[in-house]
């Protein structure tokens, strides 16, 4: 049976992992590669590195960090942030990343999903999308709008429609981050997660809001997510990957890798 995945996200700012609340007020929690190695050995199924200051500083993703991670992390890892074109994606993949995550760039230039999938295979192309609750309307039938630039700019796209279009173009996986719950530790935004998970034919990663293991269990069971992404739970709140897995398996009977 295909197992549910636990993914640890590392937001990297100036070479250090930070953890913020709703993209504001970040605190420094450590060296990204060292943390990734530790988490992967402790049972994280996948890692995501977001170079969150790269686009704002108009510089490419930190390739040295990607190459260093490739020497020390032997589970799949995704990189995002600062990918401006297919050449940047190629550089990240050749440095050892398994997947690249495209967010604002895909909204601005949807065709990048198609060219990326053609060049590297769709399994390498993750659509990162930030969704904000706006209420159901003719323009936003799902009740959620896509936002970009770390949640600052509304994209004018319905979240479910955008997810469908992105998969048609070439996205092989979707990481859905709910802006309203991100960093709040109140649980994932189950409604939109389930809508997208049930609509697209590619795996869906739930992101934004995990504070307890019950929240992950809900993402899998109630929202049909294939993977759940955590950050502060393991960075600052005392949870371990192995502990989360144990509880998912033993308390919630979720099939996970032990």
């Amino acid at each position: 049976m295909l197992l549910k995945r636990l993914i640890v996200c590392l937001d990297v700012r100036n070479g250090r992992v930070t953890k913020g609340v709703k993209f504001k007020g970040n605190i420094n929690v450590g060296d990204p590669v060292e943390m990734a190695e530790r988490y992967s050995v402790d049972g994280a199924d996948e890692m995501v590195f977001y170079d969150i200051t790269a686009s704002a500083e108009k510089r490419p993703i930190d390739i040295r960090m990607v190459a260093e991670a490739a020497k020390r992390v032997f589970v799949p890892f995704t990189v995002g942030g600062g990918l401006r074109n297919v050449d940047d994606m190629r550089a990240a993949l050749l440095a050892g990343a398994d997947k690249v995550s495209l967010n604002s760039l895909a909204v601005d230039q949807p065709d990048i999903l198609r060219t990326g999938a053609l060049a590297f295979g769709r399994q390498c192309i993750v659509l990162g999308m930030d969704a904000k609750r706006v209420g159901v309307s003719a323009r936003f039938p799902s009740g959620y709008e896509v936002v970009t630039r770390g949640g600052r700019e509304p994209a004018g796209l319905d979240a479910v429609e955008w997810a469908k279009k992105a998969v048609d173009l070439g996205a092989g996986e979707i990481c859905l981050n709910a802006i309203d719950t991100d960093g709040m530790k109140t649980g994932y935004e189950l409604e939109i997660t389930r809508k997208i998970a049930d609509t697209v034919g590619v795996p869906l990663i739930a992101s934004g809001g995990a504070g307890t293991v019950a929240h992950l269990a809900d993402a899998f069971e109630k929202a049909h997510a294939d993977a759940a992404l955590v950050a502060s739970m393991v960075h600052t709140d005392g949870y371990t990957c192995s502990g989360i897995k144990k509880e998912l398996a033993e308390v919630y009977r979720i099939p996970v890798r032990r």
């Binding site: 197992l3 490739a70 050749l94 050892g96 092989g172 996986e173 049930d198 890798r257």
Partner: protein
Amino acid sequence: MIAILDYGAGNLTSVRLAFERIGGQAEVVTSASRAEKADKIIFPGVGSAASGMAGFCGRGFDRVLRQAVADGKPVLVICLGMQMLFEKSAEDGGVEGLGILPGTVEVFSFPPGQRVKIPHMGWNGVDFTPGHPMLNGINPGEAFYFVHSYYVRPGKPDTTLGRTEYAGFNFTAAAGRGNLFATQFHPERSGTAGLRLLKNFLEWDGTLCS
């Protein structure tokens, strides 16, 4: 010397780095003349069957691989590489394989109502045929990392060395014969268990008795 055959299909960085991590040295080779000097061969693969076969045979690696198999050199084959070992693939409108193992490569096919996500991507447990030297220290049912849309259907049951179930469908996750060991999953991305399998390959002399 361990040769990683680079036939232009995908990225070999993670395979090379995984061997470095466990204290081995594997060299990415692009020519048949260099590959035939190797004591052990790694035949990796990411990509599609048609371009994979063209790149592989175009570099003369098919001859090197057949010779290595005949000479008893340990050979490890990963993902698309494993699919290319068989006789025929349904990918890319039908592609002739190397035919080193009997059988075919088929696309995953589930009833539309079942809503199964393709590719089969993520961690899944493998039930291995016990006793193979490549499986020393690997727990029964151990999970490995998969990414694939096609699966192999061996023509002979004893070609299968491990099985995995996806959405109720049981398929061959590891296959081989003698000194040839192939996995549909990616040991280089499969954490501690994957590194253990690669370490077993470093130590393997290609025979089946220990």
